[in-house]
């Protein structure tokens, strides 16, 4: 049915426009209907489109909307492309998105700019769908920057607080750095291939027409864009600060959908990366490094949302590890499962914060499981899922990643698997630490907070339950096989099923070890953990300081640029050199005039003498030279 994808994309846009313009005047109920109704409708359309896709046997649906620009023989078209990969992404975006919208009704009740919140959220869905369904890199880039804008607006939603506005700006600038890399990659591909349509690009690269050098360069540049958006090592600094936004925003944008855009990009452009082994190994290494370092930082964080933020960065690192070793389908599978349990965790955290009336510091929580049972239950399920305990979703996807990290023919290596397993252990450790400190043990809550802890209203808890359920069953969808025709699994270096099963068992043991270690360390109020922290005080300070990455950037990038702009460009360049020379010329003219004026002394004798000199000069000139 032509126009379906366009409808899917335009629904959230309509939500943004209607709420943006009329929302304030027509009251929260109208905002709820539009703000939540349209994403749900979008989810329905997405499911319908997916069924059509399946009915057509996986044939991609292509819809050309209009020609954006026609320059010479270069054609830039705005067209949508639905194949299995983008269908999965669209379903996640609209599905989890709709759930989070429902959750937001409860969470944001009573906020004075209620309509604006839902308008921005719908705007985000519009741009995310544009990103996911776009056929050409240009449309993807429009969605790419659009979600950057939406996250900027939503992080700085409570703009009265200067820090939140500054966090929003930091997020946008860091994303923008990634986008600069993305643009360069896009230009390179355009120059090499001549078009920006992603499917044609994959064919061109697969066809071997493009030299490896260009493929590697394009791969790395696009990866820079991905690190910006998916908060990998060099450009991850913005995600922890992005927690300044409302919690549902963190859940939707900074956990489930936007940050996975980078993963989607690399998966979609698998054609390029298959031709560029160097780029793939770079991705794997950076992904793993990010995963490991983020996990270590998460261990010592005291703010509940910061822990989850670093956990997201770590899980994204895992996905990039999978992409790096060529297991594109597995990465998307992990993305799929991660969307559910991470959204559940964040919304759970939101519910905890809502219950404790804004308290976010886990050192002043504890013993909440009895007070807010539904939240604690769903949180436990999600924690188990992310830790990778067997029946749940996390176990299936993470285990696949570790297996391909070891065995993949395209760059699989033992140390990748080893560090991956250590990170898996750390993941289990910090997640259960979080659970232990927040829900179990003695209550360390401030008295006035403690007595009116209340369970969240039903819209919030119902969403939590749904997400918890999906966190369980998500693993059972055999997504890698479903995406196989599109993203073939890499050929294995060695295929010994016994080793595979052994690794699975080992992975479970690692997860359980993590759980036990957390229990031991943080069992009775975390006293034993504090002892260890005191002994390794210096290491603890480095981890707590997040490896001082922000300070390094501030000193290496921000301050020099400000210094150059102010001292070199403004003071030296403009004021002294340019304006100075102008004023110098003017002064020169004025002083010259003064010197000449001194000849008029007023004395007749002087004038006569001047006349005599003039006469002499004329005579000499006349007689000698004429």
């Amino acid at each position: 049915m032509n126009g379906l994808l366009t409808l899917l994309v335009l629904l959230p846009l309509a939500g943004f426009l209607v709420n943006g313009l009329l929302g304030r005047r027509l009251g929260p109920v109208f905002v709820n209907v539009v703000g939540v109704g349209l994403p749900l409708a979008a989810f329905g359309v997405a499911v319908w489109a997916w069924r059509i896709l399946e009915a057509g046997g996986g044939e991609p649906l292509i819809e050309t909307v209009f020609t954006w620009a026609l320059v010479g023989e270069h054609v830039f078209e705005v067209s949508f492309y639905l194949d299995r990969l983008s269908a999965v992404m669209a379903l996640i975006v609209t599905g989890v998105g709709a759930l989070i919208h429902i959750y937001s009704i409860g969470y944001m009740k009573g906020d004075e700019s209620y309509a604006r919140y839902f308008a921005y959220l719908n705007l985000f869905l519009f741009f995310m769908l544009l990103l996911v369904l776009g056929r050409s890199l240009l449309v993807l880039f429009v969605g790419w920057e659009g979600v950057g804008l939406a996250s900027y607006l939503l992080i700085g939603f409570w703009f009265q607080d200067v820090d939140k506005a500054r966090a929003g700006r930091k997020a946008f600038i860091t994303n923008r750095v990634g986008d600069a890399g993305f643009l360069l990659g896009m230009f390179l591909i355009f120059t090499a291939v001549g078009t920006l349509e992603m499917d044609q690009i994959n064919e061109a690269f697969a066809g071997g027409l493009i030299p490896v050098g260009i493929a590697t360069a394009a791969g790395i540049l696009l990866f820079i864009g991905a690190t910006g958006k998916s908060a990998q090592i060099p450009l991850h600094v913005w995600l922890p600060d992005a927690m300044a936004g409302p919690t549902p925003v963190s859940a939707l944008i900074h956990a489930a959908t936007m940050v996975t855009a980078g993963v989607y990009l690399v998966a979609r452009m698998s054609g390029v990366y298959l031709e560029a082994p160097a780029a793939s190994t770079l991705i794997a290494v950076i992904g793993l490094l990010t995963a490991f370092l983020a996990a270590t930082i998460a261990l010592v964080q005291t703010d509940i949302k910061k822990v989850l933020a670093y956990s997201t960065i770590s899980q994204l690192g895992f996905m990039f590890l999978a992409l790096g070793v060529g297991a594109y389908a597995v990465a998307v599978f992990h993305l799929f499962t991660h969307a559910f349990f991470k959204a559940a965790l964040f919304l759970g955290a939101g519910s905890v914060i809502h219950a404790l009336n804004g308290e976010q510091d886990i050192r002043r929580m504890g013993g909440l499981s009895r007070r807010i049972p539904w939240t604690s239950g769903t949180f436990l399920v999600a924690t188990a899922a992310i830790a990778g305990l067997p029946p749940l979703a996390g176990f299936f996807s993470k285990d696949e990643i570790l297996w391909f990290a070891l065995a993949s023919g395209q760059g699989g290596a033992f140390w990748l698997w080893l560090l991956g397993s250590v990170t898996a252990f750390l993941t289990a450790l910090y997640m259960f630490r979080l659970y232990w400190l927040v829900f179990l043990g003695r209550s360390r809550m401030a008295p006035e907070v403690a007595e009116h802890v209340h369970e969240s209203p039903w819209p919030m808890t119902s969403v939590l339950v749904v997400l918890a359920v999906f966190s369980v069953i998500a693993g059972w969808f055999a997504l890698p096989q479903y995406l196989a025709p599109l993203l073939p699994a890499p050929d294995l270096r060695f295929d010994w099923p016994i080793l595979h099963w052994a690794l699975i068992v080992f992975a479970v043991l690692v997860a359980v070890a993590g759980l036990v270690a957390a229990g031991v360390l943080y069992g009775n109020g975390g006293r034993r953990a504090e002892a260890i922290e005191r002994r390794f005080a210096r290491l603890y300070r480095v981890l707590a300081g997040k490896y001082y990455v922000d300070e390094i950037y501030e000193r290496l990038l921000q301050r020099p640029w400000l210094w150059i702009s102010d001292r070199v460009f403004l003071r030296l360049g403009d004021r002294i050199l340019l304006d100075g020379s102008l004023h110098g010329l003017a002064a020169l003219a004025r002083r010259g005039a003064e010197v000449l004026a001194r000849v008029q002394t007023g004395s007749l004798h002087w004038y006569a003498w001047m006349t005599l000199l003039g006469l002499v000069a004329v005579l000499i000139w006349m007689w000698r030279y004429v």
């Binding site: 004395s603 004798h605 002087w606 003498w609 005599l612 000199l613 006469l615 002499v616 005579l619 000499i620 007689w623």
Partner: protein, 182 residues
């Protein structure tokens, strides 16, 4: 060395001494007399050259009219102020240097000048009659014009003076009345 050259030399020397004397004489009247001496020597030179009309007019106009008028001025402005006590201006040395420079240039000019092609001059070229004929036939127009211009200048001058005087009278009257109201 013909007799004429000797006479010329004498008169030239006369005019030069007069001119140089003007530098040193303190009282303007004596300077005026020295100048008259110079002018008369010049008239003599003109006569010696055969330009009798010019010589006569030189004496008549210059000495007669110009210097007399100057002497009246000197009589009216008999002021014994600083210009009397200090004869020379602050630029004395500069002036003398200028003099040497100028003379040097003039002499250099003269020495390098090409000799003049001799033109045969009829002996009575500059008699009174030829002067009168030439004056009356060709050039009377210019002199008539000059005369008219001078006349216009005088009328204008008197008109200006008249306006100014009447203005001053009115101002004077107003000043008196002003004092009453003041």
């Amino acid at each position: 060395m013909t007799i004429e050259t000797v006479f010329l030399m004498v008169f030239a020397l006369g005019s030069l001494t007069g001119a140089v004397a003007m530098f040193f004489l303190r009282h303007p009247m004596r300077v005026a007399l020295a100048l008259i001496g110079t002018m008369v020597s010049l008239a003599a030179i003109y006569a010696q050259l055969g330009m009798h009309v010019i010589a006569v007019f030189q004496v008549l106009v210059y000495v007669g009219a110009v210097m007399v008028f100057m002497i009246y001025a000197i009589m009216l402005l008999d002021v014994r102020d600083r210009s009397f006590t200090e004869r020379f201006s602050p630029l004395l040395v500069a002036g003398l240097a200028g003099l040497l420079l100028l003379l040097g240039v003039l002499i250099d000019g003269l020495l390098r000048g090409q000799p003049f092609p001799a033109v045969d001059v009829p002996p009575d070229a500059f008699s009174v009659s030829t002067f009168a004929i030439v004056f009356m036939e060709q050039f009377w127009v210019y002199f008539a014009l000059t005369a008219v211009l001078l006349l216009v200048a005088e009328i204008a001058a008197s008109a200006v003076i008249d306006i100014r005087r009447r203005g001053q009278d009115v101002a004077a009257v107003r000043a008196e009345r002003g004092d009453d109201h003041g």
